[in-house]
């Protein structure tokens, strides 16, 4: 990674709440908190580590689809987490079920991270392809550990085939073998791995332990990974964090049709939902999805839907219905490489303008784009809550990287989304579903309530919900609905809608959104830059953005799309977005790649 060590490192307190909280509650006593938060390359211990002594690790495990690569990556993450590290896992796979090349990149550091590195310290190869494809990630100190029944390479050969055979284990347990070998190579005590297996491998636990243990023994120590005095944390994916945030705000129904990279939220809620009393429905298609969700909400149940671009297309008509009928609707749209089917398992940030403008006619909506699991939790909860408070559609705009990567998660860092019950009917007769109010928000009632007739309508309608074509009503109800934008902006003003990170006095700012937060925060800080991330993208947080950019002379937008969608959005607001660093090959930025691209422009 490019290392601009000549630049002075100004450590400053982060201005945003969550960091202060984490600082105060930090489990690491007496730590250098600024360093705890900053990029690795300015931390001497990472630079000057002894040949084998390490306090960070970057591991890649690769194999075929069906080899359980993601699961192995998670097990590695959990093990490293148990060693006191903060981890991040990126999972890369093509759209197929068996064969093809899959890999997980797990990175562990002392401090929270949300990005991967191209370079790896240890390469775990379940097949030959892995060694070939990832040569460029290796440096002279990197170790290759491989299944000697499948792979020929220089490095640490593990008799995976023999172990599996002798233990009569399923071929899928080859991945457990590799994790076992990794632990030995990094000098991670076997008990740590065993603890993780016992906690997280629910099927054939004993056998997995045996297999891991044998591989452990057959490997040798190469690095000595320091054990850190930090508590382990939950490791969850972005989609799991979104699910938890929705549950936190009272989700009662989740309706979804499978579509990568949103499906894992469906799976998570299908499993966890019943414990939370949530009705999870997978209907015939996305049109049914959104209309069912509106049916749920009309009847008083907080519902959400999840999909990706193609499925979202089919929800546009329902979205516009939500706008006209003022029924709350919360949507996860997890972006992937488009247009059309595109690269369905690869990442992109190319649906921002689509989401902001989708659906015919004009209505108020909220679009939030969390940057990591903690933001995903907080903002998903808040999105659901605001959609109910204001009776508007609220989008959680994610992408494959955020949705499917795994992050260390702290509830206290994330913060609890504020809860504010929506205004309810006060039993005044007659109930008017669309009562004109100064805020534009009409009190809610639900069918079954005695004495209220709740009439919602996709047509232009009067206050009672009956269809009208009267010119005055058309305009005045449009005004009523649009008034909610002010109420929304007010609610948002209380939140940190734009985050400022890095070197807050730098006149050069890196602007990013969504899952690019992690890599920009880390690399931007190492370049001595200010890093600004709008979490709310619509309504555009103009004033907080203005504040965040105070004193900035030079802007660089970093995005995973080909036109600079946030940059264009800023242009629309009269902000000069400056240069653009764009990537649209479906892969997220690594720290090294972003640093190299930044070097070209800074």
């Amino acid at each position: 990674m490019a290392h601009p060590s000549e630049k002075p490192q100004v450590y400053r307190m982060f201005i945003y709440r969550e960091v202060q909280i984490s600082f105060l509650k930090s489990p690491v006593k007496g730590m250098d908190w600024a360093r705890w938060f900053f990029q690795p390359d300015c931390c001497p211990s990472l630079q000057d580590r002894g040949a084998n002594r390490m306090d960070s690790l970057s591991v890649l495990i690769g194999g075929k689809a069906g080899d359980g690569i993601n699961e192995a990556g998670m097990l590695i993450s959990r093990t490293l987490n148990q060693m006191g590290y903060r981890v991040y896992q990126y999972y890369d796979y093509p759209s197929l079920i068996r064969g093809g090349h899959n890999f997980s990149l797990v990175r562990a550091e002392r401090y929270p991270i949300a990005s991967h590195k191209d370079s790896v310290d240890i390469l775990l190869a379940l097949n030959q392809e892995t060694v070939q494809l990832h040569q460029s990630r290796l440096n002279k100190e990197s170790a290759i550990i491989f299944d000697d029944s499948q792979v020929q390479a220089e490095g640490m050969a593990i008799p995976v085939g023999r172990i599996i055979k002798e233990e009569a284990a399923a071929p899928i347990m080859r991945n457990t073998c590799m994790v076992g070998a990794l632990c030995r190579a990094a000098s991670i005590p076997l008990e740590v791995l065993e603890g993780a297996v016992v906690r997280h491998v629910k099927k054939k636990t004993e056998l997995n332990l045996r297999v891991a243990g044998r591989a452990y023994k057959s490997a040798v120590e190469r690095f000595s990974l320091e054990r850190l005095d930090q508590e382990p944390m939950p490791i969850i994916t972005g989609n799991e964090a979104i699910g938890l945030g929705l549950l936190r705000s009272g989700l009662g129904a989740y309706v979804s049709y499978p579509m990568t990279p949103s499906s894992s939220l469906l799976h998570f809620l299908a499993n966890a939902g019943p414990d939370f009393g949530v009705k999870v429905v997978h209907p015939e298609n996305e049109i049914a999805v959104v209309l069912m969700a509106l049916g749920f909400a009309y009847a008083g149940v907080r519902s959400a839907v999840g999909t990706s671009g193609g499925g979202f297309c089919l929800m546009n008509e329902g979205l516009s219905l939500a706008g006209q009928s003022e029924i709350p609707l919360t949507l996860l749209v997890s972006q992937r490489a488009g247009p059309s089917t595109g690269g369905p398992t690869y990442t992109a940030q190319s649906d921002l303008h689509f989401v902001i403008n989708a659906g015919q006619g004009e209505f108020v909506r909220l679009v939030v784009a969390p940057g990591d699991a903690e933001e995903a939790y907080f903002w998903s909860g808040l999105a659901l809550d605001l959609s109910w408070r204001l009776q508007i559609p609220a989008f959680i705009l994610s992408d494959k990287t955020l949705s499917e990567s795994a992050y260390c998660f702290s509830l206290s860092r994330a913060g609890e989304p504020p809860e504010q019950p929506p205004e309810r009917w006060d039993f005044q007769i007659p109930y008017q579903r669309y009562l004109r109010t100064p805020s534009g928000v009409s009190p809610l009632a639900f069918p079954g309530q005695k004495g209220a007739q709740i009439k919602v309508n996709s047509y232009a309608h009067d206050q009672s919900g009956l269809t009208t074509e009267d010119a005055f009503e058309l305009a005045s109800m449009q005004d009523k609905r649009m008034r909610k934008e002010a109420a929304l902006n007010e609610a948002l003003a209380e939140q940190m809608t734009v985050k400022s990170m890095g070197h807050l006095d730098s006149p050069t700012a890196l602007i990013c959104w969504g899952s690019n937060k992690g890599v920009c925060q880390e690399v931007g800080a190492s370049f001595g830059l200010r890093v600004v991330q709008p979490v709310v993208l619509w309504p555009f947080p103009a004033s907080q953005m203005g504040a965040a950019l105070e004193g900035v002379e030079d802007l660089i937008c970093v995005e995973c799309n080909s036109t600079g969608q946030l940059a264009r959005l800023m242009e629309c607001q009269g902000l000069e977005p400056g240069r653009r660093i764009l990537k649209y090959d479906g892969r997220p930025f690594s720290t090294e790649e972003l640093a190299a691209r930044l070097k070209e422009v800074v």
Binding site: R248, G252, E284, A297, L411, L466
Partner: protein, 282 residues
């Protein structure tokens, strides 16, 4: 007894068969009210089309939705609150073209709602195009030379999708409609009624129907094969007698039952559950 007339001005054409449906559903609901149905728990869902205006004309909870989507909305409402009585009013363009898959899935799931299709065999509100039940050769505004498609038989399709209650009414026959509406609402499961609702303006079939309709008598509605035979007697195209009444009914578990035990946790259980979920992810 509550008046079911809403204050909206009725804008159906004179002679429109929709009036019969409106006139039959009101007494049907009022009769059930007398027997204990809480009208505040009735929800009407409609699509878009002439038929759909019924949402404006009924003094009950209503969800006037979008073209073709009565059934997913109705399903969501019923899943949310199984105590509600959910009645959908759809059009033939609405339900047999734009949103046909929802019909099959509602039947497949046997969700406990009622669906009344105003089958005028024409797009009324968009001024007279052919629909999936228009006969072969129908000259509509999108097919001035006559359609080249044979019609669907909606009852046959719903039967083949697992429907548990199938009937046919006719807008010139309010008494039968009342009976059918009542039976359909009382049926535990997906109740499907195809109503031959005459469009006086674009496809006036009163004479045609009057000469051919008859009410099912001595029909064993519990017999699949008897139902199939009667359903196939007229294919919405060829010359045949047209049976009206209840064709088929059977008892099956309903969809929403499987969800009815669930209701969202509230504080502090919810926070506790989140914490313990997170715990398990360490």
């Amino acid at each position: 007894m509550r008046s079911l007339s809403a204050p909206a001005k009725n804008t159906w054409c004179p002679g429109c068969g929709n009036f019969a449906i409106l006139s039959a559903i009101k007494p049907a609901l009022n009769a059930l009210e007398e027997e204990g149905l809480d009208l505040d728990r009735v929800v009407v869902v409609s699509g878009i089309g002439c038929h759909a205006k019924i949402a404006d004309y009924l003094n009950v909870n209503s969800f006037y939705s979008i073209h073709g989507r009565v059934l997913p909305v109705a399903t969501g409402i019923k899943l949310a609150n199984p105590d509600l009585t959910v009645i959908g009013f759809a059009g033939d363009g609405d339900c047999y073209a734009e949103g046909l898959d929802h019909l099959i899935f509602a039947a497949k799931r046997n969700v406990d709602i009622t669906l009344i299709v105003h089958n005028n065999r024409v797009y009324g509100l968009t001024t007279g195009q052919y629909t999936p039940t228009s006969p072969y050769g129908f000259k509509g505004r999108s097919t001035p030379g006559g359609t080249v498609e044979r019609p669907l038989n909606p009852l046959e399709i719903v039967l083949s999708s697992g429907g548990s209650f199938l009937g046919r009414g006719y807008s010139h026959g309010i008494e039968l409609l009342k009976t059918l509406f009542r039976q359909a609402i009382l049926h535990k499961g997906f109740a499907f009624l195809d109503v031959l609702q005459v469009c006086a303006t674009f496809y006036n079939m009163y004479n045609y129907y009057n000469q051919r309709v008859y009410e099912l008598k001595d029909h064993d509605a519990s017999s699949y094969s008897a139902a199939l035979k009667k359903i196939r007697e007229w294919d919405y195209n060829s010359e045949a007698q047209i049976a009206l009444g209840l064709f088929y009914q059977r008892v099956l578990p309903t969809y929403e039952q499987s969800f009815s035990h669930l209701s969202p946790l509230v504080s502090p259980e919810r926070e506790e559950a989140i914490r313990s979920t997170l715990e398990s992810y360490i």
